[in-house]
Symmetry: C2
Subunit: 214 residues, 2 copies
């Protein structure tokens, strides 16, 4: 239907959730209208970028006035696919997987954790934050059955690619990888990664190269 938003740049897509959060704050504060400048400040970017980014969604602002907070929030939620829930499965019920399951933020933001999987039979049958742990052998069958769209990988690196393959076989369209290894997914499946140690190593570089003091 909406032919407006034809191909939004990746960099813009990655910023939309930040704007969304800012808009949610404004709603909480009962603020009805916001300028690109104010929104930029809240999102930690500059105003030109906000306007360019928002323009990909459509012309939702009013010149001389700004953007209607609630209207923009709604349009952005719709564009991000956040007007409905996306059931999520977490694979790996170890430290990290359990922490993710216990972290309420997922369910609260529309990503209910509906299943967990682990390769360790001793963990199968347990519940983490109310979510039942299944065996990884059952990913393909169960994830498909439960209509899981997004899979979260929180396994050791050695298991990650195999798990990703199973998730894809189950019809999962998006994968969020926490395992410290590169995994690949077929064309058409989205993949993002969060690598904790890697982030520290990047910071280490800048730490090492601070102010040449010359």
């Amino acid at each position: 239907m909406s032919d407006r938003a034809r191909h939004i740049p990746e960099a813009t897509v990655a910023r939309l959730p930040v704007y969304l959060r800012s808009l949610a704050e404004l709603v909480d504060d009962k603020i009805a209208t916001v300028s690109s400048e104010r929104l930029a400040e809240m999102a930690g970017v500059n105003a030109a970028k906000v306007r360019k980014d928002l323009s990909y969604l459509g012309s939702y602002g009013t010149r001389g006035v700004g953007y209607d907070v609630e209207y923009l929030l709604f349009q952005m939620s719709r564009e991000l696919g956040l007007t409905h829930d996306w059931p999520v499965a977490i694979v790996g019920a170890g430290n990290l997987g359990s922490a993710l399951a216990n972290y309420g933020g997922f369910t609260q933001r529309g990503f209910p954790v509906v299943a967990m999987f682990d390769a360790d039979r001793a963990k199968v049958g347990r519940r983490v934050h109310g979510v039942l742990v299944h065996h990884t052998d059952d990913i393909v069958e169960l994830a498909a059955e439960l209509g899981i769209g997004i899979g979260v990988i929180a396994t050791p690196a050695s298991a990650a690619q195999d798990v990703a393959d199973k998730l894809v076989a189950a019809g999962v369209g998006s994968v969020l990888n926490f395992a410290p290894t590169v995994i690949t997914v077929p064309e058409g499946v989205s993949l993002r990664k969060v690598d904790l140690a890697l982030e520290l190593q990047i910071l280490s570089f800048y730490q090492e190269h601070r102010e040449p003091a010359g």
Copy 2:
């Protein structure tokens, strides 16, 4: 000393740790030499990018042969500042902060967690994975005393900016923010963020816009 690597692009810096991990795997497998093509495959990028990235570090390859794995690993570790440890403090001893402290990967990769901080007096004095929890009021004093270079923020969003300010006041040069909010640090301080819900929201966008099937 080395005047070679004058200003490495950010995008390249963010990939260096991925190459580093690949090189470590090759060392484990007792492989002495690697081509840009092979390294690219392991790192999930293309060969041209590998060569361009590595060229910023210096001319460490041999034409017709490839790169000496151990030598490149050493040079890269040095460039990334990973030849010595970087003591880290984690602020926020809740679910996430505790999971991060318990996650052995940090210490193991040269980022020993030497202190934790929390605003809740009930948590102060406890130990998480052997690390003592202090009160956030003592960040400035203690972080400076302990020579902490990198601070990890794992607090609720509402506390994050205040904590960041304290860390900076303590002389911390790098901040890794897990709180779901935008924080700012002064010029010269490095900042990276990991936002779990945000990653899922980005995936939701692509999930929502899968295959227009036209």
